[in-house]
């Protein structure tokens, strides 16, 4: 038995008394304290996903390969005209969709985190932010595996990553932060009403086409589309991560830093929304 006695005080609107910054520190402390649980839940999600599959974890390698084959097919069939991308198109697509996939996977994992963990949240006394910690661990590990596969395929194509690969994790951070922020806000609102999740899911699918991931900006002739791409923060976050890996430079330094600022702001807002209303959301999971 622990030597110190824990004391839990339960009152209405306690989050307002604590404040969002202290609440954030408490949440981090809780997660570190319960790290064994976070690890066990992560392990469960990671392995259980493949437990009933014949080829099991081989899917981690097979999925990106199928993805590339489909894009290359569309390219060869002249359905996609990507413009001059500077390197073989499959390699361009491979790295672009890898980074894009990270954004989409974290957003969608966070978006569904609370609703999918309904049972755990309602029937156990785990710290609620655990469901998000498990998801971020899961997505980062999945991404790391896909990243290793990507690098191997790139080398097979005869393309060697630039030294910028060392900065790759840092350049990815604002993208991860933005994905977490968007996912958290949708997660909170979608428990109350499904409208937001359905709307945003449709919108996220559309975002791929206004981010130069599967084509180069030169290929876009429509002025309005150019403007949307120019104003889209994902353009700078996704393309900078891709370009730092392939060419050792940022897509646009100015755009990248402005988008990083936006990501940090979005993350702060999302924490505030989650912190002050997360409890109210959980009672609506009943």
């Amino acid at each position: 038995m622990a030597g110190t006695v824990q004391r839990m005080i339960i009152t209405p609107n306690r989050c307002f008394d604590t404040g969002s910054f202290a609440g954030f520190l408490n949440a981090i402390r809780n997660q570190l304290h319960r790290r064994d649980m976070v690890y066990q839940l992560f392990k469960k999600e990671f392995f259980a996903g493949y437990a009933k599959s014949f080829i099991g974890s081989a899917w981690i390698v097979v999925s990106p390969v199928i993805g590339i084959i489909s894009w290359v097919f569309l390219h060869r069939a002249n359905i996609i005209r990507p413009g001059d991308v500077g390197i073989p198109y499959p390699a361009y697509i491979l790295v672009g969709t890898l980074v894009w996939g990270l954004f989409m996977n974290i957003t969608s994992a966070f978006m569904n985190a609370m609703a999918n963990s309904r049972y755990l949240l309602l029937w156990t006394s785990i710290p609620h932010e655990t469901v998000f910690s498990v998801q971020i661990l899961l997505q980062v590990v999945h991404f790391f595996i896909s990243f290793c596969v990507t690098i191997i395929i790139l080398i097979l194509f005869g393309i060697f990553p630039s030294l910028g690969i060392l900065l790759f994790p840092v350049v990815l951070l604002p993208l991860i932060l933005l994905a977490m922020a968007v996912g958290t806000i949708i997660s909170v609102f979608s428990v109350i009403s499904l409208d937001m999740r359905k709307g945003i899911t449709a919108l996220l699918g559309l975002l791929l086409f206004v981010t130069p991931v599967i084509y180069s900006l030169d290929a876009v002739t429509n002025v309005w589309l150019q403007k949307v791409i120019y104003l889209n923060p994902l353009t700078y976050l996704v393309c900078s991560a891709r370009d730092i890996l392939l060419f050792g430079r940022l897509y646009s330094a100015e755009g990248f830093f402005v988008s990083t600022g936006l990501s940090v702001a979005a993350a702060l807002v999302s924490w505030r929304v989650y912190y002050f209303s997360g409890d109210k959301v959980i009672e609506r999971l009943i």
Binding site: I10, Q40, L41, K43, K44, F47, T124, I126, S277
Partner: protein
């Protein structure tokens, strides 16, 4: 300073909304308001809201196991969830001192396709144990559950009864200061129930526990205090368990008479 483990509940209340559509509107309004730093007024009922738990006060000290009984919908599970910190109250206060184990369901977090061994670790960490603690108690958990032959089999092959055995054995290994149990022994066999009752009696000598059950036989055997809930409020509270059960039975008769008449 070391404080005595226990639960102190003072006028705790919780409201819910009966209308799904209105619940969406209230939810959106609450989230928007809260995010802007506006503290919601939780003390007043809005249209279609009702008190699921209202002004409940009770005190459970070390060595007490309080039986919480009442008909379905009387607020027992909501009260337990409030104490477990699942969601916050809309009024009142509760203070829990000590290490908490909330057994609101058995086998929380179990995954059907993972082995019994893996699931013990998942469930025990959810309940609040560390990996080291589970390593030490693993053999005792399996021995108590009596399912040693299935240790590396997926949980999916266990029967309902074996599932409960495993879940309950993990919770009992935790030795908490505060134990909240919600009707989890229902599907286990008589022999295992007796074993659990003995174990519960041992645990509660050192802890404060609240035990929700519809099985009056078990309540009589393990509890040394009783609270009867009706329509979200405490209708009866006593140290005399038999008296509490008699009150509950008379309450049930009254309600049935009002609902179905007296047959004449």
């Amino acid at each position: 300073m070391r404080q005595t483990p226990g639960i102190s509940v003072n006028g705790i209340s919780k409201k819910f909304c009966k209308s799904l559509r209105r619940s969406i509107i209230y939810g959106l309004a609450d989230i928007t308001g809260s995010s802007l730093g506006i503290r919601p007024n939780t003390r007043q009922l809005r249209k279609d809201e009702f008190w699921a738990v209202r002004d409940v006060s009770l005190s459970v000290n070390k060595g007490d196991m309080v039986g919480l009984i009442g008909q379905n919908g009387s607020g027992k599970t909501t009260l337990l969830r409030l104490l477990a910190g699942v969601f916050p109250p809309d009024g009142g206060e509760a203070i829990l001192t000590g290490r908490l184990a909330a057994l609101l369901t058995v086998g929380a977090g179990f995954h059907r396709h993972l082995s019994v061994r893996d699931n013990v670790y998942i469930n025990a960490t959810i309940l609040g144990m560390s990996r080291k603690e589970i390593d030490e108690k693993f053999d005792a958990v399996i021995a108590f559950s009596g399912i040693g032959d299935f240790i590396d089999a997926p949980v999916a092959v266990l029967s309902d009864g074996m599932y409960v055995r495993l879940g309950f054995s993990i919770a009992l290994a935790m030795q908490p200061d505060i134990l909240l149990i919600d009707e989890v022994l229902a599907v286990s066999d008589r022999e295992f129930r007796e074993k659990c009752i003995d174990a519960l009696r041992r645990i509660t000598q050192e802890s404060a526990a609240v035990f929700v059950s519809h099985n009056m036989e078990i309540v009589k055997k393990v509890c040394n205090g009783i609270v009867v809930m009706n329509k979200g409020t405490v209708a009866f509270k006593s140290k005399d368990v038999a008296e509490g059960i008699a009150y509950y039975n008379s309450l049930k008769r009254d309600i049935n008479k009002k609902t179905f008449g007296n047959g004449k």
